[in-house]
């Protein structure tokens, strides 16, 4: 699957980074270089894709305090 990092930079310089096409914690590893380079992390959200393993099995959904509403 295609794996990309999307960075949205507002007209006032605020940034939001999103990963796409990753499963599990690999998204954090892939984008960490960019987070560290740009500044200080303010907020982090994980979607259901984060809790999905490479073979498509969702895990740990019940213990995710920051899972956004569907």
């Amino acid at each position: 699957m295609t794996q990309i990092i999307e960075l949205y930079v507002s007209s006032t310089g605020e940034t939001r980074l999103a990963t796409r096409g990753f499963t599990g914690a690999s998204c954090q590893a892939a984008s960490q270089f960019l987070e560290a380079a740009l500044g200080v992390q303010q907020q982090e959200q994980f979607t259901s894709e984060y809790y999905r393993t490479a073979n498509g099995v969702a895990t740990k959904l019940e213990v995710c305090p920051s899972l956004p509403p569907s």
């Binding site: 990092i5 960075l7 007209s11 990963t19 796409r20 987070e35 380079a37 959200q45």
Partner: protein, 142 residues
């Protein structure tokens, strides 16, 4: 006013699509001289100069950036990531110029880091004035 620290506050972006796994909001810190130079080139500004700048009250040392219409330069203290400036709440320099510099810095810094790792990038200006930078990590072109 002198020595004001530029804070880039969080604002909600609408990022809604399938297969997003991880979303992070970041407060930009200006720490990379190469990206400051790239931001100046992008905006058509003179190259930044490392020097001590006298502001209306006090002084600041760092990379001095001449923003259009600003009475005093913007000083980037890259060691700390902070910005020092004195625009007297807009009377001595339009904050829009500072915002544009921060946007340009974030874009150029991200592109520099992506290219350093061999990733391809593509850039798109959105209708609300924000910029979407797509970084291809694996599986095709950005």
């Amino acid at each position: 006013m002198a020595g004001a620290l530029a804070l880039v506050t969080h604002k909600q972006f609408q990022v809604r699509s399938k297969y997003l796994s991880h979303i992070v909001n970041i407060q930009t810190e200006v720490r990379d001289p190469a990206a400051v130079l790239a931001a100046c080139q992008r905006l058509g500004l003179p190259p930044p100069v490392q020097r001590t700048v006298k502001l209306f009250s006090g002084s600041a040392a760092g990379l001095a950036v001449e923003l259009p219409g600003w009475r005093y330069p913007l000083v980037c203290e890259t060691a700390t990531g902070s910005l020092k400036y004195d625009n007297y709440q807009g009377a001595w320099g339009d904050t829009l110029q500072l915002d544009q510099f921060l946007q340009a810095y974030a874009c150029e810094k991200a592109k520099l880091e992506a290219r350093r790792r061999g990733y391809s990038t593509s850039e798109q200006r959105l209708a609300d004035g924000s910029i979407k930078l797509t970084i291809q990590v694996a599986g095709g072109a950005a």
